[in-house]
Structure formats: structure tokens, C-alpha cells
């Protein structure tokens, strides 16, 4: 004892060395490398959750992007005005001079109109009367395409000349229903108990879908031959982009100064955006399901880690005998858990992007996965890995070395 006392002062207390970051990751990964199937399966659980969430966010972002592009192309500056109910409850009509009044208003780029004609259109004169196919006949002003952005895919639009004669231009759906694929002088349809020649077919137009199922004839011929009363039923107005909101407020009064309340004004691009908003509710639900899947994946990782610690007691004891501290054992298993779930997270991000790209490609949309979703997904997996691995890691580090060694 007497020799030991002075020696105690000489000896410096031992200090544990730090593991380098590379060693921490290597050691954490070593437990994964030896159990590839289990690692794959528990990473898959996380991956499915992340992929579901990335997919939902990606698909809804892509469809939003598609909508934005579409609105960019179609313009959000189109307003429609139509007759609502009169105060007495009967169908009101717009005044004769409505189009002219709108055209004279400030900030209006162009105006056009159609008027409903109470006639039906059929493929030929043998079709039973009730089979109208929902196709409405309208008198259209010749300046309609410029205002609504209608595209003629075949033939041509109505002009001052043929607007006087029994000529018709069909919307895309109407053409398909009537079996018309080409507009040529021989193509005729039975409209208002007489033959009309199809001079043009329109492309589908999402901003004014009512034109898709319309048969459009000239204003003069409608009045002369089809008993059209000459009142516009929808006035289409393109306004300067910056003034659309203001104009929307006063359009009713402009169209019908005497009964502004009888005028229904709407902005078709709003309807498109509203459709998108209903999809958002569904996205929220799917996102929730993805979160549940992710949670289940996290439980899977926790389970894998608990089993891993139980199975590797001998390894833990050995590492302690080699000089690992509590903390280093804890770090090892925490790192293993983080790597495991990060693996799942990265797999899930790749899978989610693939799902988004696949679906968007199928729909003809641009593929867009927001960076925040990708980063958020990986960050979420790290949080999950940390939570799932915490308890097993603490247990591993608390294992007494002798007991751990006895297990092997």
C-alpha cells in the first residue's frame, strides 16, 4: 500500500478518445450491413410512408402547376355576364345594347356574345327528337373566338358572309356526339328542321366549357330561320388584367343599367381554381394516411432496433471491453437507427418522385415536387429514426458489460 500512494498522484486520469464522424457512421452502418433483409423491410416501411406523402404533395403541386400554366395560357381576365332571374322570378333577358355598352366601358379589351336559340340539332333527320345529346344551339357573334380564345381545329369560324346562311360551327364535344370529324361542304347536320353545313369544329376550351357542347350559328341566320329573339344570353368580356376585379364589380350595371341585380357575372378562371381547391381536401386526407404509414414505419424501425439490441448483447459487451463508453454505445445504436430510417427516407423520396413523375406524365402534366417536401420528408425520417432509436440505444448503453459478454 505504501508504494501505491505516491504512484496515484503520478498517474493521469484516463481520458476516452472521440470517434471521428466517419467512424461513427461506419460503426452505425456495420449493424445494418450484416442484416440486409431486415434492414430492407424496415426501411421499406418508412419509404412507403414518405413516398405516399411526397407523392400526394408532388401530384397536387404538379396539378396546380398544370392549372397555373393553363390559366396563364387561357388568361384569367375573361368575365361572363348572363341574365339571371328577374325580380318577379321569370327568366330575365339582357338588353339589346348590352354588348355595345360593355365595349364602351373602361379597360375592356374585347367583347362578344352568344344567344341561346330554342332549336335542336341532330346528326340527320331520322334521329328521334329527344336524342339531343345535350347540345345547345347558340347564335354567335363573329368576334367570339378572339374574346373567349376559341381555337378552330378544322374548317373555319363564322364570318360576315356565312353567318347569313345555314352554316354551323361545332364545339368539340358536340362534334364528337354528332359524329362529325371534319368540316367540309358535304358535312351537314339537321338543325332546327333544316340542313346546316358544318363549316368548322372547335378545340376543347376549358375556360368556357359550355362552348364545347354548343352548335354555333350566325346571328342573322338564327334570327331569320330559327326564331331567335336576338337577345344575348352570355356576354364575354376580356378586360385588362389589372382592371378585371374592378370591372367584375360594375359589369352587371354596365350590361343592364336598369336591373343590374338581374345580371349574373362570373369569372370562369375562378371556377377552374375552385375545382383545384376541392382536390386539396382529398390531398389532405391522403397526406394524413401517408403520415399514418410513416408512423407505422417508425414503429417498425423501433421494433427492429429493439431486436437488434437484444441480439447483439455480446457485441455490446465486446465493444465495452474494447473501451467503448456508454455514450459511444448509445451513439452507435442511435446512428444505426438514423441510418436505417434515412435509408427509408431517401428510398421514399425517390419512390415518391417516381410516382409523381409517372402520374403527372400519364396526365400530361409537368412534374413538380417541391424542395420543401423532399427536405421535409428526409428531416421527418431523421426525427422518426431518432425517436425510434432512442429507447433501444439507451438500453444498449446501460447494459452492464459483464452481463452483455455472458450473453455470447
Amino acid at each position: 500500500m505504501s508504494t501505491a500512494a505516491p504512484s496515484r498522484q503520478r498517474v493521469a486520469r484516463p481520458r476516452p478518445a472521440r470517434l471521428s464522424a466517419v467512424d461513427v457512421i461506419r460503426v452505425g452502418g456495420s449493424g445494418l450491413r450484416s442484416r440486409p433483409v431486415r434492414v430492407f423491410l424496415s426501411a421499406l416501411g418508412i419509404a412507403i410512408g414518405i413516398a405516399a406523402m411526397i407523392g400526394v404533395v408532388g401530384i397536387s403541386t404538379s396539378s396546380q402547376e398544370e392549372l397555373d400554366r393553363k390559366l396563364d395560357a387561357l388568361g384569367t381576365n375573361l368575365l361572363t355576364a348572363g341574365p339571371g332571374q328577374s325580380f318577379g322570378g321569370d327568366q330575365a333577358h339582357l338588353p339589346d345594347e348590352a354588348v355595345g355598352m360593355v365595349a364602351a366601358a373602361d379597360a375592356v379589351e374585347s367583347v362578344s356574345a352568344v344567344g341561346r336559340v330554342s332549336a335542336e340539332v341532330y346528326r340527320n333527320d331520322h334521329v328521334p327528337e329527344e336524342q339531343t345529346g345535350g347540345i345547345g344551339v347558340y347564335a354567335a357573334r363573329t368576334d367570339l373566338p378572339r374574346t373567349v380564345g376559341a381555337q378552330v381545329v378544322d374548317g373555319r369560324w363564322l364570318d360576315a358572309a356565312n353567318a347569313r346562311y345555314p352554316c354551323v360551327v361545332l364545339g368539340a364535344r358536340a362534334a364528337a356526339h354528332l359524329g362529325v370529324h371534319r368540316a367540309d361542304p358535304g358535312t351537314r347536320v339537321w338543325l332546327g328542321d333544316r340542313w346546316f353545313t358544318v363549316v368548322g369544329v372547335l378545340a376543347p376550351n376549358e375556360l368556357v366549357p359550355e362552348l364545347d357542347s354548343a352548335a354555333l350559328v350566325g346571328w342573322p341566320v338564327a334570327r331569320q330561320e330559327l326564331g331567335f329573339d336576338g337577345y344575348a344570353t352570355t356576354v364575354y368580356t376580356r378586360a385588362e388584367e389589372s382592371a378585371v376585379g374592378d370591372l367584375q364589380g360594375v359589369l352587371g350595371a354596365t350590361v343592364n343599367p336598369e336591373h343590374p341585380n338581374e345580371v349574373q357575372v362570373s369569372r370562369p378562371s375562378d371556377a377552374l381554381a375552385a375545382k383545384q381547391a376541392t382536390d386539396d381536401a382529398l390531398s389532405g386526407l391522403l397526406l394524413g394516411l401517408g403520415a399514418v404509414a410513416l408512423l407505422v414505419g417508425g414503429v417498425g424501425v423501433a421494433n427492429t432496433m429493439v431486436i437488434s439490441v437484444l441480439e447483439r448483447r455480446a457485441e455490446i459487451g465486446l465493444r465495452r471491453s474494447l473501451g467503448a463508453t456508454h455514450g459511444q454505445i448509445r451513439t452507435q445504436f442511435l446512428c444505426e437507427s438514423l441510418l436505417l430510417s434515412a435509408l427509408g427516407g431517401l428510398g421514399g423520396v425517390v419512390l415518391g418522385i417516381a410516382v409523381t413523375a409517372g402520374y403527372a406524365g400519364y396526365q400530361g402534366w409537368p412534374t413538380l415536387v417541391p424542395l420543401w417536401a423532399t427536405v421535409g420528408g428526409v428531416a421527418a425520417t431523421l426525427v422518426i429514426g431518432g425517436l425510434a432509436g432512442f429507447y433501444p440505444a439507451v438500453r444498449a448503453s446501460r447494459l452492464p458489460p459483464t452481463e452483455a459478454l455472458a450473453a455470447g
Binding site: S7, P16, S34, L322, G323
Partner: protein, 232 residues
């Protein structure tokens, strides 16, 4: 004068009601090679774990390489094991699928040396154990004797002053066992202090010092042979 490598005084260890060690005094000086023998359950492994700082005594003092174990925190004990003590176990504790050189290199993982150096030392230690041709073999490709030599290489690659072996030949046939004992002798000649637990009377008899344990007490200690204790 350097302190003894191991110094136990009045050391007891109880597990609940079971007394595994009762008042053991033992001094192991630098450069010794000794056998710890005794019947099963007599407390040999318990003694070795105390010498290896893997557990703390219930009472008495344990001093390893001059450090009083009761004064050190768990972190400090870990550091002491990393720098001072090498362990060899009856079951080799080699992770499946890990090549010998990597398993051995992990012997210095917690010593704070860079990986390249660890691997270089591992290769040297394996060559020293006569396993230069087995560097990249996984445990399932090695014989029992080879596995134990890998485990010894892992224990000694940092040149720890103290090597503790708990029945290192227990799982080996007599020829592999003899090869392992030859290695331990060689390490002893090179200056390492070696404590070997063994059931094998012949092995025990072949070592310079024999400590016999029974019922948790030192029953007989052949003592430090003349000239054998003077290390550095």
C-alpha cells in the same frame, strides 16, 4: 518504481445473496504470466472481470496500472480499458461476415487512432499471429484456433500492458490450444503481462505462476517466481 499492473486488496463481489469472491488479495506485477485455476463457479471469471474493470468490487480496492478503479468514472474506466487492457474470451466474439483485418482493427477503434493506422497495425498483429494469409477471411472461413488467434490479435494490437484471457483454449482442440498458448508465451516474452484462466492442469502447470481459486477465495498462490516479476 512502476506500480503493479493489477493490485487487489480485500476484494469481494456479491450478486444478490451469492458471494462470487470473498476477500481476495492479489498483486500481479508487470511482465508476469500467470494462470488462474479453480473449479467451475469458484469465481475465476468474476475475478477476471474485476481485473478488467468490466465490473466494480462490492468491497475492497482494485487498482489497475496505478489507477484506483473506485475513483474513476465509467467513462474513465472505458478509456482505461481502451489503452491498458486486452481481453480474450472463450467464445471468440467475432462478428459474422466481418473480415479478420477489420475485426482486428476494431480493437483500436476506441483508442482514437485513425482508421488507416488501425488497419496497418491490424495487419501487423495478424502476421504476428501467423495469420498473414487470412487477412480477408470472415469468421466462418476460419478454424476455431484461427478465430482465437484473430481475437488475440484484436486484443494486443495496441500493445496493452495487460492481457486477460478467460479460458482462451476452452473451445479448442489440444493442438490449436497449444498454438494459442505459444502465442501467449510469446507475448509474455515481449513484455506483456498475461493472466490466463484455464481448466487445463497441464497448461496451468506450464505457466510461471499459478493462482488457485476455490469458493471465491485464493486457495493457493504459487507466488512470484524469482526474477519473473521485474518488468520495466
Amino acid at each position: 518504481m512502476t506500480p503493479p499492473v493489477v493490485e487487489l486488496s480485500g476484494v469481494s463481489k456479491t450478486y444478490g445473496g451469492v458471494t462470487a469472491l470473498a476477500g481476495v488479495d492479489l498483486v500481479v506485477r508487470r511482465g508476469e504470466l500467470l494462470a488462474v485455476v479453480g473449479p467451475s463457479g469458484s469465481g475465476k471469471s468474476t475475478l477476471l472481470n474485476l481485473m478488467g474493470t468490466l465490473s466494480r468490487p462490492s468491497c475492497g480496492t482494485v487498482r489497475i496500472d496505478g489507477h484506483a478503479v473506485q475513483e474513476l468514472s465509467d467513462r474513465e474506466l472505458s478509456a482505461l480499458r481502451a489503452s491498458t487492457i486486452g481481453f480474450v474470451f472463450q467464445s471468440f466474439h467475432l462478428a459474422p461476415g466481418v473480415p479478420a483485418i477489420d475485426a482486428v482493427a476494431d480493437g483500436l477503434l476506441y483508442g482514437g487512432r485513425p482508421r488507416g493506422e488501425r488497419r496497418r497495425l491490424a495487419e501487423r498483429a495478424l502476421r504476428r499471429m501467423g495469420l498473414g494469409h487470412r487477412l480477408h477471411n470472415a469468421p466462418h472461413q476460419l478454424s476455431g484456433g484461427e478465430k482465437q488467434r484473430v481475437a488475440i490479435a484484436r486484443a494486443v494490437l495496441g500493445d496493452p500492458p495487460l492481457l486477460l484471457a478467460d479460458e482462451p483454449t476452452g473451445a479448442l482442440d489440444s493442438r490449436s490450444g497449444a498454438a494459442v498458448m505459444d502465442l501467449l508465451h510469446e507475448l509474455h516474452r515481449a513484455g506483456t503481462t498475461v493472466v490466463v484462466i484455464t481448466h487445463d492442469r497441464d497448461i496451468a502447470a506450464s505457466l510461471p505462476r499459478e493462482v488457485r481459486i476455490r469458493d471465491g477465495r485464493v486457495e493457493r498462490d504459487s507466488g512470484v517466481p524469482v526474477g519473473g516479476a521485474v518488468g520495466g
